[in-house]
Symmetry: C2
Subunit: 326 residues, 2 copies
């Protein structure tokens, strides 16, 4: 474990324990099967980024109540609901090294348990009694579902521009990070300037997080991250390393890359060649710089708050998003 | 058109027009495809029972604002979201005589547009700024999704009891009717006794409505209702006429019925035999009496309100639920 990761885990150890407890306590379906499927997606080694952002953001804004941990689970349920539906939509085989839920229980159950988790998230949100928080969360859900439709429509389209990719990951990942941070400020009844600064931090962090995740698909060793490396390519997902790689490719390389996009059986040697090409052409470095730029922006927004242990942990979290893919 | 239906339509003509306008106005996705798929399920000859209940219930409770029509569309969006997901879960081929959305656009789009409509419903709910309404709606969504999982688990199980069937239709249909009525009272800030009476009316109406709908699958002519008659049997759905028929059947009849449940290719002559058996054995009459009992209960709850044109229309709506299947 890196020193950075150890420092973060040390700082949030008690929070993570409370979040795990709340994730179990707030999951109270009447049916064993719902609990089993929801548990499969929820207790699967996730990093709890979204609940952590809410808990830490609320603390940064001076929140002293005890409700932030319970409520932070709403964001993780919402996240889990989108994972269940998106894995089905993407036809994904695995998630974090285990079979995807729709492979184990079928599409019908994946749809319905996703619906349950979404509803559970909104029930927890309703329990805050804060109409603005409810409005922000339901607006977020609308935006995310439209973002997924957009991504699905453009799947396998090698013409996707960097700008469109940015819009896809904004809706797919960054708005949820942004919302976690915004809601933390609302929960703490912080001034509008703090709310906007935290929301901007979350949005930038979310962009960096997703770019780093997309990089892993071309840079990581499968066994290291429990991820199905190369799945983005096979599913035809246009991500920044690939988009930049296409822009840098000569005619022959371009033809070779296009033949691989959306191919469910990419030969290992072709994938190895593509990894090499993306590294040598500078496409990987380009995507990494984009993530670094977002992280610098995220940290800039945090500097509006006075220095404190909580601010330092949020700074560390930003750096950690990059370290994952080094 | 029956005299009853004509009287209802005359009484709610302006309301229905306003509801249709609000359904269009509140559907504002950024993507054409989302609008197209949502429109396919929303503008499909539905009876608008749920929005109507909300508008009429609010009026019965003395609501004089202008927000009830706009908000009533939330219930129709929620209903449409569950139809999109349930048709996929049930593997349904058609809905109201047109191909089901997942047959036209695929599972992925049906899942995501359902998610969008659910989120849109909750956004409209959030816009009421009333935390109790938000809590009631999100709790409802949880209950409905769990009800669907339950129904899916028991699909094709000829051992489903009448009591369990009652629980399935409560969660599948009746709680949404109940919620439409309860929320109308909350919107009107009516006293708790009115809220409970209207909610009880809606719950009873919902039970009767679903039993009547289930009866149609064994009593209607396909061309009359634009419904895929016999689909409940083919999908293995245990409904009251079938449950009662099994209870009344002799050993040979029972074996013959069991062989048909969940059979995707029920021969026309076997289905005709089953229809005859359910009619002659008294199973149809039994289910009809159950619906009538619920309708009598629904009307009893309404009698707590003073007589008025709105109360008379709600009484008519109750009678109409039965007439549909006569």
């Amino acid at each position: 474990m890196s020193g950075l990761k150890a420092r973060i885990l040390g700082a949030v150890e008690a929070d993570l324990r409370a979040i795990e407890e709340a994730l179990v306590a707030n999951l109270t379906p009447h049916l064993e099967l719902v609990r089993e499927v929801a548990g499969h997606i929820l207790f699967n080694g996730g990093k709890r980024m979204r609940p952590l952002l809410l808990v830490l953001g609320a603390r940064l804004c001076g929140y002293r109540g005890s409700y932030d941990t319970a409520f932070s689970t709403a964001l993780e349920y919402l996240h889990a609901a989108t994972l269940l539906h998106d894995d089905l939509v993407d036809g994904a085989e695995t998630r974090r090294g285990k079979p995807a839920a729709h492979r184990l229980w079928g599409n019908a159950i994946a749809v319905l348990v996703g619906d349950f988790l979404l509803a559970r998230a909104l029930s927890l949100t309703a329990a805050t009694g804060n109409p603005r928080i409810v409005a922000v969360l339901s607006r977020l859900t609308e935006e995310m579902s439209q973002g997924e439709v957009h991504q699905l429509q453009r799947k396998g389209d090698p013409g996707l521009s960097e700008e469109e990719y940015g819009e896809v990951i904004r809706r797919k990942t960054a708005v949820l990070f942004e919302t976690a941070c915004r809601v933390s400020a609302l929960l703490a009844e912080a001034p509008a300037s703090s709310e906007e600064a935290l929301a901007a931090y979350g949005l930038a962090l979310g962009h960096a997080f997703q770019i780093a995740d997309d990089l892993l698909d071309y840079t990581a060793q499968a066994e290291r991250i429990g991820k199905d490396v190369g799945s983005d390519l096979r599913e035809g997902k246009m991500t920044l390393p690939l988009i930049r790689g296409l822009a840098l490719a000569g005619a022959a390389e371009r033809r070779r890359i296009l033949a691989l996009i959306g191919n469910p059986d990419v030969p290992a040697e072709d994938f190895a060649w593509l990894r090499g090409f993306l590294a040598q052409s500078g496409a990987i470095a380009y995507a990494r710089r984009a993530a670094e730029t977002w992280i610098a922006a995220a940290k800039g927004h945090l500097r509006r708050f006075p220095d404190s242990p909580t601010r330092r942990t949020l700074m560390d979290l930003a750096d950690y998003c990059l370290e994952r893919n080094l």
